[in-house]
Symmetry: D2
Subunit: 285 residues, 4 copies
């Protein structure tokens, strides 16, 4: 059986003794640190930490940890999250017409590659219902028009809350979410954009790449913010192309990239390895 660990993810203004204070805290309750990764931003004078320790033998219960840690956190003005590795996050996937990312995530889930549940798929198209339901997953069809958008988003939010969804994945979802919607899930909506951002933001990036004649295409997994395609980047990757690649070839190569980059971004988030700081991320990989 896997051990259960606690993961503490925090940021605060840099100051002497932070590592010592925090590791002392864990050690004083008899915790065994498994991983610790720390970053100090020289410019911003900020301190970032991801620290993971075994719950077995730890002198505090899960409920007691935040209480005991709070004074330290307050003293150093920390922003922090505490996670336990046996909690299985609940993911909702949003899709439209392009389904390779959806299928890839379902496949990885069924092969045990993700420590997550996927109880819900939301789409603005009807077609995929049978396949998704075959996997035992609820499929909700929310057609979006200019007129019904606000109303539909409200219904979606209600459903997501009711189903206790932790993370939203936009797997080539072609609707733009409103700022109001996004505000309900800060740094918890992950999008795959099929270009190497900030190159080719906006629509039809493969066509843009083809027209510009680039020799490499990319994909970007990022958190969704109000400014389209401008959220903090979690993961990126690229693949070479040449003049021999027509648009269809570029799309085909890009599909593989999108699948891999989205899965990587989601996994980094699920393992609590990502800290958002301003428009950027610290990724403790």
């Amino acid at each position: 059986m896997n051990d259960i660990n606690a993961v503490l993810l925090l940021s605060c203004p840099d100051q002497k003794g932070l590592v010592a204070k925090i590791s002392d805290f864990i050690f004083s309750y008899n915790g065994n640190i498994i991983h610790a990764d720390q970053h100090t931003s020289r410019r911003g004078k900020m301190f970032f930490l991801r620290i993971e320790w075994e719950l077995e033998g730890f002198a505090l219960t899960r409920e007691e940890i935040p209480v005991a840690f709070a004074p330290l956190a307050k003293q150093f003005n920390m922003k922090w999250e505490l996670h336990f590795t046996d909690y299985v996050p609940r993911v909702a996937i949003f899709v439209s017409r392009h389904l390779h990312c959806l299928h890839d995530l379902l496949l990885r889930k069924s092969l045990g590659d993700f420590a997550a549940e996927i109880p819900l798929v939301i789409s603005n198209h009807r077609e995929e219902r049978p396949v998704v339901e075959n996997f035992g997953i609820q499929y909700c069809y929310f057609p979006i028009t200019r007129d019904n958008k606000m109303k539909q988003e409200e219904r979606e939010i209600a459903l997501l809350k009711e189903m206790k969804i932790d993370i939203l994945v936009l797997a080539r979802y072609m609707q733009i979410l409103s700022g109001k919607f996004i505000a309900h899930f800060p740094n918890r909506i992950i999008n795959i954009h099929h270009s190497f951002l900030p190159a080719f933001a906006g629509g039809n990036p493969y066509q843009q790449a083809y027209d510009r004649g680039v020799k490499i295409i990319g994909a970007t997994g990022h958190y969704v913010t109000e400014n389209l395609d401008d959220g903090p980047i979690i993961a990126q990757d690229v693949i070479k192309i040449s003049h021999r690649d027509a648009i269809a070839d570029i799309q085909m190569k890009g599909k593989d990239l999108e699948r891999m980059v989205l899965a990587r971004a989601l996994n980094l988030h699920l393992e609590h390895r990502v800290l958002v700081y301003g428009l950027k991320t610290i990724v403790f990989d």
Copy 2:
């Protein structure tokens, strides 16, 4: 000893029988084709060809080839260039303060990696004169101000023509060349831009990349056109970065990329492997 080959590089509207006609032409004069690479653009209905054959045993002299080929070229409305592999092109390198690309090209040249002469380095700074002259290369200092720019460019053009320079390489040259200057050397000025174009065009791309928080940086070798950083791309490459990389680290990693990508772009050009078509390139690598 190396064999001497002829290289024909051409483009024309696509039409049946082009490969047959051209390979017949070569075969009819007893030519032995060493390489042939062809591309048909389905959209533009254009045909592109690079074909290389041995001069030894070929029934035409170098002077006779263009004469004999002209009727075929005219019939199919071809744009074409003919090169011979024993001609050693003459390269002028333009630099400013950042010298890693200059040094790298000189090093490659001295190790025999380039089939080119480098008789001239032009700089808008004085400092590098001794090093360059140590290599037996003429160093010309052309300080550029808003007032003297047109005048200085005219002097540069005169010098480049006088020295029979074939190719200009902007190895981190920080001055913008005028359209008039560029028009003297169409598709013969190669620039290295230290980003993955079209991302981070313009000034200080490493700072831009740092500020955006991308996970990959790049470099682009391209032909210089009037629109800054918008010329046809010859070669691109990327390298991964992380939050651990400060600006100085990004610059260091980028230097290696710039050196490699510029050398590759120049080599592709020197081997007559690049055909420019609109804003894009066909690279027969």
Copy 3:
């Protein structure tokens, strides 16, 4: 609708006029060449060609092409294959316990990424039957022991022939095929080996990679020959690892590689882009 093309894949001793002769042949029957890619091995003095032209408007029927081409082929001592792009090859997938490659191929097939039928999955394990049959694919269980191996292989061969299987894909199939079996499908069995061959041939390559402390792992798609892991390589790719990656992490990263490399190798074969020459391949990509 897609156009139907003919693809000619050939190799022969190098000689003057080959390109001219072959392109003349196609042009003389009014064929429009879409792609032509040629390679001359300077050492082996061999000539390799992949040439693709439109059937529409071609003066010969499919049956007449080989008859008309035969004299030329004989004259130049060519080994050659002729394919038509509307023929859909039939693929059988062999699996054992690791199923990510199988699932990936089925997913790609269902998304329309492969121009192939997959009517048959063969396994030496029982477990996967329901999933495979769900896809409407026949699942055949052939348990292999030392004693029954020859017999089982004979049954497999009979089934494969009966089902008119063109290509066999070993998607992490853990049994070693006999030379006799392989001889029935020369250069038509594609294996994925989960290392960067020739490094870590044989069993448990991820463990080998971990123990050696390499900083990069790889995957290799290759044709199966009698010498295990020594067949002609079609495609390879790699991914970086570090000391932070335990065996389980390496396996996870490797899975993505295996899926991509196997799919790429199979696609190259399906598009008739691979010519085997001795222990090596010419890949016209």
Copy 4:
């Protein structure tokens, strides 16, 4: 001006409280930790740490640090090294006929990319003397034959010790060093091997790669041990090749790889980022 930091690099059997104890030690003397990177090997139950803090404001002098740290080190059975970032290590480069790596290191040194002195080049060939001396570097010619090898190695060791050389770099040095020689510089001799080890160990790896028909070639920077090409790997990288690449093309592509990988391996060592553990390395990058 750059700040001066202390770098502690250590390994020991894993145990609770190690991070706390060590960061307490630094904090108790008023040290400001800049970087800390830690790794725990779950299998070997070993703990590895690289921790870097500012000397400015630290309550101990350089000489006092090891004295104060010794009890802790003893208690936990640590192997440890202490470095200061203002010490400039002294590097000797060994070469034979292939000079691209030597030139590259000299170029990087002259551009300020290395925090190291290069006072000495040792070669078993005479030719490069003028170039090296031009850089103001001592050039020592040690021809090696079977008969004089032991004697020459003794002279080399004496010279290296006399010149207080810290690190030896074999930049395509074609002689095999004896075990006795290597024992004088444990984990301080870095070699570049022009293949993706363990593939193509031994002589002429590019020819081996060509003959095997691989689609990717590599380079490996590693510490030299008695078993040839079997030392702990520091850095590796790869580049794609195809059937179009003749041996000369492979060598050309490989040169760039070798230069980059060797420079990266050396830099990682110079920045005290490499811990050797058995036949493997922990690289805190």
